[in-house]
């Protein structure tokens, strides 16, 4: 648990799926090592223990939506444990439930998404992607394996420069890629035929909550009438409705945006006095919200749905996993 928390803190572990899987596996370990203190019931005590772990993780880095949904799932599973189970049986049940969740909601869901999304890639396409989403990476590699001929444009932005990791992995597999920064997006967009984006979560009004910069990419794509496909597993959907990016967000390290890595000459902010620094606020937002008008289709494990159908999935099928 400490290890996972520190990985979050250091930024080694990023990406909704990776963080969620790591957290769930850490919970599995914690459950296995757990033993009920005397005079306490398993369900209540374990729930409060989980709560404690979650607070620790929040200290390291605020939860992503996917993690939030997974924790709710886990708590509901714990609450539903029949009281007649012995402690070891309860623990094995919980661990197998977690395994099933990871398998069905993430691993298998990704496979279904791959199949659907690959049908939308034709020979001769120029695909644009932003940042580094594990699902989009899988889609591109899968389509390449299927033998489709396409080019990829990887758009990246400071300070995280996540696109470079994606770029490296794609180039190694032999895809022809172009790399550019976010400020050049309107320059490359006229050549692009499809835009593939990942999401951290999708809200009930179809708003896509994803890495900061995604909204700009989607907006420019919409202006150029390029279809935008958002690929997201259904477990990341959330009932919340968010109208803009400010009301709920995560702040990153402000100093990260005051410097450009590798360019020591661009250091205009270094010599400010403290009095001057009072007037300056460095805002490093991690997420932004893309309105549903800019999205053409959301590819999930339930198939390809329009953004207006997210509440249908949330309403109809989220209850399902609470009752696994």
């Amino acid at each position: 648990m400490n290890r996972v928390g520190l990985q979050y803190l250091a930024g080694d572990l990023s990406g909704g799926n990776a963080r969620c899987i790591a957290m769930l596996q850490a919970f599995q370990e914690a459950i296995r090592d757990y033993s009920t203190p005397p005079e306490k019931t398993l369900t209540r005590d374990l729930t409060s223990k989980i709560g404690g772990f979650v607070s620790f993780l929040i200290e390291c880095r605020p939860l992503s939506m996917s993690m939030g949904n997974a924790i709710r799932f886990l708590k509901s599973r714990i609450a539903r444990l029949p009281l007649t189970l012995s402690e070891s049986e309860a623990k094995t049940t919980l661990c197998s439930d977690i395994d099933r969740f990871i398998n069905e909601k993430i691993v298998l869901a990704d496979k279904v998404i791959l199949r659907h999304a690959a049908t939308k890639i034709r020979d001769g396409d120029v695909l644009l992607t932003y940042g580094s989403s594990c699902v989009v990476e899988m889609i591109l590699l899968y389509a390449h394996e299927l033998g489709k001929q396409f080019r990829v444009v990887v758009v990246d932005s400071h300070p995280m420069l996540e696109g470079q990791k994606l770029l490296r992995r794609l180039v190694v597999k032999g895809l022809s890629c172009t790399y550019t920064q976010l400020n050049a997006i309107s320059y490359v967009m006229h050549k692009v035929t499809r835009v593939f984006l990942g999401a951290s979560s999708i809200f009930s009004n179809g708003t896509v909550y994803s890495t900061v910069g995604t909204a700009s990419v989607a907006m420019v794509a919409h202006a150029f009438r390029v279809p935008v496909l958002v690929c997201c597993e259904a477990y990341k959907f959330h009932e919340r409705v968010q109208l803009d990016s400010i009301c709920f967000n995560e702040l990153g390290d402000p100093d990260a945006i005051s410097k450009v890595p590798g360019r020591v000459d661009v250091n205009y902010l270094d010599n400010l006095t403290d009095k001057q620094k009072e007037n300056l606020e460095l805002l490093n937002l991690k997420y932004d919200a893309t309105p549903s008008d800019y999205i053409s289709v959301i590819v999930t494990d339930y198939g390809m749905i329009p953004p207006t159908s997210v509440p249908v999935i949330v309403r109809g099928y989220r209850k399902e996993y609470l009752l696994i």
Partner: protein, 406 residues
Amino acid sequence: MWWRSASFILDRQQHQNRTVAPSPESFLLSSPPPMADSPLNPKSNISAYYQTRAAHHAVVTSDWLAQAQAAVGRHSDDDGSLGDDKGAAPIGGGGGGGEEEGSGKAFSVIDEFNSWRKQPALAEAVAAIRALAAVIRTSEATTMMELEIELKKASDSLKSWDTTSISLTAGCDLFMLYVTRTSALEYEDFNSAKSRLIERAEKFGEISCKARRIIAMLSQDFIFDGCTILVHGFSRVVLEVLKTAAENKKHFRVLCTEGRPDRTGLRFSNELAKLDVPVKLLIDSAVAYTMDEVDVVLFGADGVVESGGIINMMGTFQIALVAHSMNKPVYVAAESYKFARHYPLDQKDMSPARRPIDFGVPIPSKVEVETSARDYTPPQYLTLLFTDLGVLTPSVISDELIQLYL
């Protein structure tokens, strides 16, 4: 003038008759579309769906009729519903013809389908549904698994008969889902389960047939007295809607686009004139010119896709764009078996359905012609869809599809 040979009607033969050709043919139509007698419709550049529509509704000249009759006389194994396109052929003859093909093993679902299809009033998907229901009835399977496998095979062969027709694929899929969704099938003895399946299949066929009446009733609220309706294409559902409105003594007038090259507008205006509805024909290019006087735009649909958009005859998207920019409501009348799980992202994202276009004069061979027969209208240009499930907004289509398919 649409050039065709009697082989359109006579499915069994492959010969290439050059019939009476009143106008010079274009070079593009140098080879007639033969209808092969294998279950697969091999003609790659002409959609079978449009062949059917043409066969049902093409303008029949008397010498063409005579030639068709003569050709019929030569082939004794053909069904009796020839030459008389406009009237509904008796069903018994068609069904009997299909089943006489052989013993149970040789029962061809394609024959059954073709015999149902010949009725011009019957939609293709409903014909497929009826054919599949007949498969269950005449099946010799002894277990549920066998029956399901047979059904699946029949459904696949129907779907492959015309891969470009969306309503056919969707109708077959929905039928399979509806019929096989009964739980506890395994626990009953086979015969009662089979009779239950047949019951459900008949019910589905009936619902699909009644769909048009339901849609006509639902859409009456949207046709008010004194309105001007613009229609495009020959949709039997839209015709039913307008017929019902005329029967209810509503005063309205209809603007029909010409609908080249199928000349759907001419046929549609014919039908409307019979109902004493004032109708005005426009050339396709005159739509924007007349859009000011239009109150309501009404389309049918070949298929309704998951995004809430529709796939319909070429020209629909254009008219919807003009209507949208001039703030006119665009209504679509479509039965629920046309809902398909496709999701086109743009016009070229669907499997193409081509049909030859006769410009009336020879075209030099260097010149390409856009022969696609249909286009995709995205949901933001549609106001409402009238379906037998109710009056829906485009975003609800995905909701309905998720409920139907998942």
